[in-house]
Amino acid sequence: MSITVTSLVKHFDNFAALKGVDLSVRPGEFLALLGPSGSGKTTLLRILAGLDFPDAGQLTIDEVDVSEQGARDRQMGFVFQHYALFKHMTVAQNVAFGLRVKPRRERPSGTEIKERVDRLLQLVQLEQLGDRYPAQLSGGQRQRVALARALAIEPRVLLLDEPFGALDAKVRKDLRRWLRGLHDEMGITSIFVSHDQEEALELADRVAVMSEGRIAQIGTPTEIYRNPANAFVCEFLGNTNRLACRIEKGGAKLGEQFFAAAVPSDAPPLAGVAYVRPEDCDIHPEPNGPGLKARVLKIHAAGPAVRVELRRLESDEIIEVHLPPGSEAPEIGRDVALTFRRVRIFPVATG
């Protein structure tokens, strides 16, 4: 089932949480809403769920306008950041809740409910814990109960609000992988909110990067990582170096290389920023060869890549370069030349 959002606007008192968001969610996809705090991602998710209503704009599900529909009619499973499990009910009762509150005609029989609950608990690997109370479970277990509970109503869409935010790193990684596996097995459209880019890029089919109430860019993880559409996405995703440069004739020069910018060739010269990823840099030990001149400051050889920290000679900017593990790193204090394989150039933001 597909979801379409058009020009969604939402204010909280004086704060504009969403300033006009357009989004199209494809059936069966695993979409991530990624962005810093305050970017509007949770607000958008809650509006999709019907837990909040927009001030302007439209929301359609499978071509039907649901802007007026409340949360209980939308048939969406919502997993809250802090689980929101019913503390006075057992795990099994929590999972059964959505089925027990269905109107009489739609409600399955007691035995059927029990069967479904058992199957779901098996799915989330908590079969032995049906009679425990949430207070007796670990964070990871509670999260899985929350997920089972949301899945019990066989929702059309699964919405997850920072599902792993409250868990520690190891549990987070395991649950991440497990969630993706679950999604692939069930084929259910899922949208999750995260401020952790590693998580979003690893799990999602597509990522919508949000900033200040708008979607800055939406695309597959590879697309947005390799081809960021603007400075914000560039800086937000992964490590990146910022190099001041001058844009003229439609691009800028770094060392001997010329890179194009999305600026017309006949525009007047303006200040710009060149974004280069550490892994897209090459170090040439001859300082007088073609390339950007820089001096080696530090080398960290322990880890999945050899990290070299350099200072650009003409501007004192710090540049970080990642070399494949086991590469030969230049000596500290040495002057070298840098060439780049991939650079994105944007004019400096005004105002």
Partner: protein
């Protein structure tokens, strides 16, 4: 360092007081409790049985005493449920919703606490007596409020108004609305959410509020005294009857009836402790008491 001295500084737990301070504080607390609570309560029973068990039973079995007991129970049976409904409703509205006038409502709920019970009784007399504001209208309808049972019920409702609400409001506010939102997202309607999610979460606070409300409803003296007219056998609650007996120097009688109220207090405390003990794990999950 001599063996009898305190442990050397380094071995003492830095977060507890030295031994003598702890014992002194415990003694003061126990002494205060004994003097202010235990001894007076004990003395009620001692005085009640001063002339033997027969005199005790006779005092309680007296016609007027029985009618006072019936009236007290009747008043509590009406006031407490009404205030529970009101208290739960008010707490729910205040904790789960945003609306204008919320602080005003909270202040009004606290009003009966800040007003002296005698004044509360007086207010009702002013409003509902024959010469009061509503007097003529009520008289025309044949309804008698002051010096009758209805007046006593009304005044008791007023005086015990805040107990349930005050107990539930901070509890519900602390619990927030996450669980309710989860319930809605799972398809529950308003009533289902209220009865299956909201109410069970506040059971212990509610019970505590009911116990307090009940104790006050049965023991209220000042306000009821002003409104009731003290008509023996008709408009006397237990506290009022105790006063009458005491004024007539029938001490055994007075203390005998008083011992019933004292037993009520002990029973409610025991009930509360029992419930807390039995449902300890559920309590650990979230509620306060």
């Amino acid at each position: 360092m001599s063996p009898g001295a305190e442990k050397p500084r380094a071995l003492r737990d830095p977060t507890t007081e030295p031994g003598w301070v702890r014992w002194l504080l415990i003694l003061v607390a126990v002494g205060y409790l004994l003097a202010m609570l235990v001894l007076p309560t004990l003395s009620v029973f001692i005085e009640a049985l001063a002339k033997g068990i027969d005199a005790y039973l006779k005092a309680i079995g007296d016609e007027d005493a029985l009618s006072a007991i019936r009236l007290t129970l009747f008043v509590a049976a009406i006031a407490v449920p009404l205030n529970v409904v009101f208290g739960v409703g008010a707490a729910w509205a205040i904790a789960k919703f945003e609306f204008r006038g919320k602080s005003l409502l909270i202040t009004l709920i606290d009003l009966p606490f800040s007003v002296s019970p005698v004044i509360s009784g007086l207010i009702y007399v002013l409003l509902y007596s024959i010469h009061g504001w509503f007097g003529p209208t009520l008289d025309a309808l044949g309804i008698k409020v002051v010096f009758s049972v209805s007046g006593i019920v009304l005044v008791t409702i007023f005086v015990t108004f805040p107990f349930v609400a005050r107990e539930l409001i901070p509890l519900m506010q602390e619990q927030g609305t996450d669980e309710e939102q989860a319930a809605i997202s799972l398809g529950a309607n308003g009533l289902q959410t209220f009865f299956r999610v909201t109410l069970p979460n506040v059971t212990w606070g509610l019970l505590y509020g009911v116990l307090l409300c009940n104790a006050r409803a049965m023991g209220e003296f000042g306000a009821v005294s002003v409104v009731s007219g003290h008509i023996r056998g008709l408009t006397n609650t237990m506290p009022l009857h105790i006063e009458i007996l005491y004024n007539e120097y029938d001490f055994v009688g007075a203390f005998a009836v008083a011992s019933l109220l004292a037993m009520l207090a002990l029973v409610t405390l025991a009930l509360k402790s029992l419930l807390e003990w039995r449902y300890a794990d559920r309590l650990a999950g979230g509620a306060r008491h």
